[in-house]
Amino acid sequence: MTTTPPPETVAALLPEIAELIVSALNLEMTPAEIDADAPLFGEGLGLDSIDVLEISLVVSKRYGFQLRSDNEDNVRIFSSLRALTAHIASQRSQ
C-alpha cells in the first residue's frame, strides 16, 4: 500500500538518495547538482534501464524493499529524484 509521505520527510531524504545515485552510477557530478524535479531519463540526467536496475539493487539493499514494475507506476517513480525519493520514503522497511 502506498501512503504519501509528508513533503518534509521527502525533502530530508533527498540528499541521501542523490548521493546514492551519484555513487551507484559513478556519475561525474556532485549529488547537489541533481535537480530534484528534473527528469532522470532523457533530457535531464539521461539515465537508461541499466541504471534503473543498478539503482533498484542499491535501494533494495539499503531500504529493505524490492522495486516492482507491475503494481507501481514505474514511469512515475523514476520521473524525478523527488518522485523516487517519495517512493522510497513510502516503501522503506529499514
Binding site: N26, L27, E28, G42, E43, G46, D48, S49, I50, V52, L53, E54, S56, L57, S60, Q66, L67, R68, S69, D70, N74
Partner: protein, 445 residues
C-alpha cells in the same frame, strides 16, 4: 514454393503462452493474430515495438498472415527510425505503450478478447522462401544494416536451438528478460515457443522481484532466458526463486563465477548461446564445462586468416563473424576476442567507427573519438568514454544532439572536452594514446 507451418510441436488446443489471466491456447493465439491481421492498415512493413512478449507475438504473426515484413532495428533512436522509414516507405508502427515513432503512422494494440477461437480449424503454412523479418545492426557508415530472414531459416534456427538445448525431449515454460525484438530474445523466447514445443510468459520482467514473480506463475519445467547483467542483478537481490530447470544467457560473455553461483542458487544448468544478428544462433555451451562451444546442428565454420565465417544449416549465406575464433579438430571452437572495432554494451552492439561517425556529424564538433576502457566490471556493464573537441558547444547541447542519433546505452560516460585529440602523423588515433588520455582524466580514488 514450400510451406512451413506457422507453429509446430503444438496442437491447436495446447498452451502456447501464459498471460496474467491464464494460459493461452494455440487456437486463441491464431484467432487473435488473424483478427489483428484484418485490422492492420496497408503497407509492406511492420515496426512492432510491443513490449509485452505476447502482444509482440500476436503482432508478428498478424504481419505474417497479412503479408508484411517485421522490421527489428537495433536502436529506437529518432535518427534510426527516420532512416528505416526512408528505406521502407509505408511502414506502420504497432505499439502497446507510449512510443515516440516520429512521423510513422501508429496502430495501438487493440483489445482482441472478443475473437472466436472456435473458427480456427488448422495451423496455417508460410512460404519458406519468404523474407518475413529484417533485423538491423548499426553499420559503420551510419546507416542501419539490414539482415533479411526467411521463414524457413527462422524455423530451422528454432529447431536447431531446441535440439541443442534438449527442449525437444523436455519442452519448457520460458520466462525472458530480453526484448522479443532483439535477435536473442526473438530466437530464444518467441521462436522456441513456435517451433521448439515451449510456452512463453507474456511479460518482460525487469526488476528481480518481477522475474521471481513471473517464474512463480508458470509451471515447471522452467527456462529463464536472460543476460549476464540481469542474472547478476537477480542473484544480488537475494530473493526466493522457484526451482528452475535451465538458464540460458547471451549477448555478453558470462563468467564462470557468475555461472557457478547461478547453478548453485537455481539448481539448474546455465548454458550460453553464441550467435549474431547476421548469422542467427550458431553454438551453445554449458559455461561451467569450459570455454569450448558446440556448433548447433548443420552449422559449419571456415577460417581465412583472422576471419572466421559461419555457413550451413539455418545460416543465410556465408556470414563473417565479429569474433576471432580458434576452431578445434573435434568441431568445437573457442572465442579469442572481438575484432577490435566492434563493441557490445548491455547486449546492444555497434562499432566505434559508427559512433565516431555520429558524433563528428554534429554541427560544432571539430573532432571526436569514442573509447571503450578495458573491462573492469565482469558481468557488469562497461560504459563508453568520448573525447570531443567542440569549443562552441556545451555538454548539455552535445548530449542532446547525440541522444537524437544513438541509443542511450552508448551515450559517453564521461564525455570529456579536450583541446585536441592525440592523433599521430598519419591522422590515426592509437588506442594507447586514448588510453593514456583516459587515465590522465580519470578521477583518482
Amino acid at each position: 514454393m514450400s510451406l512451413r507451418p506457422l507453429i509446430s510441436r503444438h496442437g491447436l488446443d495446447d498452451t502456447l503462452a501464459w498471460r496474467a489471466d491464464g494460459p493461452v491456447s494455440v487456437r486463441r493465439f491464431l484467432a487473435e493474430s488473424s483478427a489483428l491481421a484484418r485490422q492492420l492498415p496497408a503497407g509492406d512493413c511492420l515496426l512492432n515495438v510491443c513490449t509485452d512478449r505476447y502482444r509482440f507475438a500476436v503482432g508478428f504473426v498478424a504481419g505474417l498472415l497479412a503479408g508484411k515484413t517485421s522490421l527489428q532495428p537495433a536502436s529506437q533512436s529518432a535518427e534510426t527510425l527516420a532512416q528505416i522509414e526512408a528505406a521502407h516507405p509505408g511502414t506502420v508502427c504497432l505499439r502497446d505503450a507510449p512510443f515516440a515513432a516520429g512521423t510513422l503512422p501508429c496502430v495501438d494494440f487493440p483489445d482482441l478478447s472478443a475473437v472466436t477461437p472456435e473458427e480456427i480449424r488448422e495451423i496455417p503454412g508460410i512460404a519458406a522462401e519468404r523474407v518475413v523479418a529484417i533485423l538491423f545492426t548499426s553499420g559503420s557508415t551510419g546507416l542501419p544494416q539490414a539482415h533479411r530472414k526467411t521463414w524457413g531459416k527462422l524455423v530451422d534456427n528454432a529447431e536447431a536451438g531446441a535440439r541443442a538445448l534438449g527442449l525437444v525431449e523436455t519442452p519448457m515454460n520460458i520466462v525472458g528478460t530480453v526484448p522479443a525484438q532483439h535477435s536473442f530474445g526473438f530466437e530464444s523466447t518467441f521462436l522456441l515457443a513456435l517451433h521448439g514445443g515451449c510456452r512463453f510468459w507474456a511479460g518482460k520482467p525487469f526488476y528481480p522481484q518481477d522475474i521471481a514473480a513471473a517464474l512463480a506463475v508458470v509451471p515447471p519445467p522452467r527456462l529463464l532466458v536472460t543476460t549476464p547483467f540481469h542474472l547478476s542483478t537477480l542473484l544480488a537481490a537475494d530473493i526466493p526463486l522457484p526451482p528452475l530447470d535451465l538458464l540460458l544467457s547471451a549477448t555478453a560473455p558470462l563468467s564462470a563465477d557468475l555461472a557457478g553461483r547461478a547453478e548453485a542458487r537455481c539448481g539448474a544448468p546455465v548454458r550460453e548461446i553464441y550467435g549474431s544478428t547476421e548469422s542467427g544462433q550458431l553454438a551453445s555451451r554449458r559455461t561451467l564445462a569450459g570455454p569450448r562451444w558446440q556448433l548447433l546442428p548443420g552449422v559449419r565454420l571456415s577460417s581465412d586468416g583472422d576471419q572466421t565465417c559461419a555457413e550451413g544449416g539455418h545460416v543465410e549465406g556465408r556470414v563473417p563473424l565479429g569474433d576471432r575464433i580458434d576452431c578445434h579438430d573435434d568441431g568445437s571452437f573457442s572465442l579469442l576476442g572481438r575484432h577490435s572495432d566492434l563493441i557490445n554494451i548491455a547486449g546492444k552492439r555497434t562499432s566505434l567507427a559508427w559512433l565516431d561517425h555520429q558524433i563528428t556529424s554534429i554541427a560544432g564538433v571539430v573532432d571526436a573519438a569514442f573509447f571503450l576502457p578495458d573491462d573492469d566490471s565482469i558481468d557488469g556493464v562497461t560504459r563508453l568514454t568520448a573525447f570531443v573537441v567542440a569549443p562552441s558547444l556545451d555538454r548539455a547541447q552535445l548530449l542532446q544532439a547525440l541522444r537524437q542519433r544513438i541509443d542511450p546505452v552508448f551515450l559517453p560516460r564521461p564525455l570529456s572536452f579536450v583541446d585536441s585529440l592525440p592523433r599521430n602523423s598519419t591522422g590515426k588515433l592509437p588506442r594507447q594514446a586514448l588510453l593514456a588520455l583516459h587515465e590522465a582524466r580519470k578521477p583518482h580514488d
